[in-house]
Amino acid sequence: MIEARDLTKDYGSKRAVDGLSFTVRPGLVTGFLGPNGSGKSTTMRLILGLDAPTRGDVTVNGSHYREHTAPLHEVGALLEARSVHTGRSAHNHLLALAQTHGIPKRRVSELIDLVGLHEVARKRSGKFSLGMGQRLGIAQALLGDPKTVMLDEPVNGLDPEGIHWMRNLLKGLAAEGRTVFVSSHLMSEMALTADHLIVIGRGKLIADTSVDDFVSRASQKVVVVRSPELESLRAALAGPDVSFEPAERGALEVHGLTAEQVGDAAAAAGIVLHELTPRQASLEEAFMNLTRDEVEFAAELQEVVA
C-alpha cells in the first residue's frame, strides 16, 4: 500500500511533482503512466525517502519509508537504470544490500538464478547490457521478499521474452497479495499488465482509474461513413451525444454511435451508404489525447512558435 497526499516537489523554481494524491492498493498491478519528464521517477524517489518532498506526504505500508526498520522487506524498488557501482559484480552488489538486513547469501544466488544472470554474476556490472542491468535491478527489488514492489520502467531494454517474463512476474506478485506499482511511458504495455492506472502529466494527476474504464473510454464509438446524401444522413443521425467530423475524401466521422446504429438509421431513412467502417481509437491514441496538453515538450514548442 502506497499513500500519497498532496505530494509536491520543487527543484529550484521547477515544480517536478505538483500536489499528487493517490493510493496504490495491494493485490493489483498499478500502472504509473506519464510521458517522459512528467515526474514519475521523482515521485518514486519521494516514496523511497531519497528526496524530501517540498510539501505533502507519502507513506508505504503505513509508515514513512525512513521509519521502517527493515525497509527491504517492505518495499523492493527498481530505480532508473543507474543505481549500481559499475566496478562491482552483480553478486557483490546484491550481497552488500542483503547484508544490511541479515539476508542470507543463498538468497542472493537464488535471485541471480531467478533473473537469469547466473553466468555473469561475478563479472563487473559496468560491462552489463541495458537488459542485464534491468534484470539485476529486478533481482535487487525482489531480494527482501517485499510486501510492496515498485519498478521504474522495468521493461526498458528487455527483449520480448524478457518482457513476457516480466508481465507474468508482476501478475504473480500481485496475485500473492503484494502491492505492485510499475511506471511506464508506454500505454500498450500497461494495458497488458496493469489492473489499475495512475496517469500523470507535468507532475499533476490526470487520471486514477481502472484499466477497464480507461479502455472503454478510449474505445469510444467512432464510425466512418461515405454517402452521396451526407446532409440527409447528418439529419437522420443527429442526437444529443452524437457529433460529426469531416474525414478524408468526403467521408464523415460519426462519434457516439455504433456501426449498427448508423446502418439502421440510414436504412430507416432510405439513405444509400457507400461505406460504413467502425473505427477504434488505440489505447496509445487515448493516452496521447489525455496527456497531450500536459506534455512539456509540446508546451515549449508552442512558446517557441508563438
Partner: protein, 276 residues
C-alpha cells in the same frame, strides 16, 4: 528466464531481519573489498610507504663517504624511515574520497540509502571500516619501513636509532595513525563534495597548496598560523623532535583529529538533509 514457464514465482524468504549497525558494517566491508580501486590504492599506499625509505637508505649509505659533516648532520634516521608516509597519504586520501564519491557518480548511493534509510549508519560504517583497514595496512607498512631502512643503514654503521628509544615507537606508529586520520578526513570531504575530482582537489588544496601559501604571510603570522593547519598539526604525530613554531605531538594529533571531527559533523549534517 524461460517463456515456456507460464508464471514466475518469487521464492519466499524464510528468515527476515532488520537493519542493524553491525550489519551495515559488514555490508560496507563487502563494498570496500569488492572494487578494484581499493586493492590498487591500498597496494600503492603500502608500496610507497616502504619503497621510499628503502631507496633513501641505499642512496644515503652509498653517498655517506662523500657527504659533508653538515649534510650528514641533516640526515635523521626517522625522517628516512617515514619519508614514504608523506607520499602514501595521497593514495589513502584518494581512496577515502572515492569510497563515497563513487557511490554518487555511479548512482549506487540510491541503492545504499534505499536499503539503509537511516543514512548516518552508512557514514559511520564507512568511517569505521576504512579506519580499521587503513590502520591495519599502515602499521605493518611503517614497521617494515623502519626496520628495513635501519637494516640497510646498519650495514654501514650509520644513522642507527633504537625502536625503544624515547619517542621513536610513538613517531613510527604515529605515521600510521596520521595516514588513518588522513583517510577519515578525505572520506568526510568526499561525503561533503560528493564528486571524485572535487573531493580530491579539495583534499590536495588543504594539504598541499595551503601550507606553502602561508609563506606569503609575514613570518610572525606564518609562524603563528601554520602550526594549526591540518597537515602541519597532523604531521607532529610522526615527528621525533619538537621544532619551534610547531605543536607537541599529542596536541598536534588532537588538533588534526578535531579537523576530522568537524569535517565529519558537516558531512553528517549534509547527508541527512540533501536529496540523492
Amino acid at each position: 528466464m524461460s517463456a515456456a514457464t507460464p508464471s514466475v514465482r518469487l521464492p519466499r524468504l524464510d528468515r527476515t531481519g532488520s537493519v542493524a549497525f553491525h550489519r551495515v558494517l559488514l555490508s560496507e566491508w563487502t563494498k570496500l573489498r569488492s572494487v578494484r580501486s581499493t586493492k590498487w590504492s591500498l597496494g600503492v599506499g603500502f608500496l610507497l610507504t616502504v619503497a621510499f625509505p628503502i631507496a633513501f637508505s641505499f642512496a644515503t649509505s652509498s653517498h655517506w663517504g662523500s657527504m659533508s659533516p653538515q649534510d650528514r648532520a641533516d640526515r635523521h634516521p626517522l625522517d628516512i624511515a617515514l619519508v614514504g608516509v608523506n607520499v602514501a597519504q595521497l593514495a589513502i586520501a584518494v581512496l577515502g574520497v572515492l569510497l563515497i564519491s563513487a557511490e554518487y557518480s555511479t548512482g549506487s548511493i540510491r541503492s545504499t540509502f534505499t536499503a539503509v534509510p537511516k543514512r548516518l549508519l552508512v557514514l559511520w560504517a564507512k568511517l569505521i571500516d576504512y579506519s580499521v583497514v587503513s590502520l591495519a595496512l599502515m602499521v605493518p607498512a611503517v614497521l617494515v619501513s623502519f626496520f628495513s631502512s635501519q637494516a640497510i643503514l646498519g650495514r654501514h654503521d650509520i644513522l642507527q636509532i633504537s625502536f625503544t628509544q624515547h619517542g621513536v615507537a610513538r613517531s613510527v606508529l604515529g605515521g600510521a595513525l596520521y595516514v588513518m586520520l588522513v583517510g577519515i578526513f578525505a572520506l568526510a570531504i568526499g561525503a561533503i563534495v560528493r564528486n571524485t575530482a572535487g573531493g580530491i582537489a579539495a583534499f590536495a588544496g588543504i594539504f598541499f597548496v595551503l601550507p606553502p601559501l602561508m609563506f606569503v604571510l609575514p613570518t610572525s603570522w606564518n609562524n603563528a598560523i601554520s602550526q594549526y593547519l591540518p597537515s602541519d598539526a597532523g604531521r607532529q604525530l610522526f615527528s621525533l623532535h619538537h621544532a619551534s613554531h610547531s605543536l607537541r605531538p599529542l596536541t598536534g594529533g588532537l588538533v588534526f583529529a578535531a579537523y576530522c571531527a568537524a569535517a565529519i559533523v558537516i558531512a553528517a549534517a549534509l547527508l541527512v538533509r540533501r536529496d540523492v
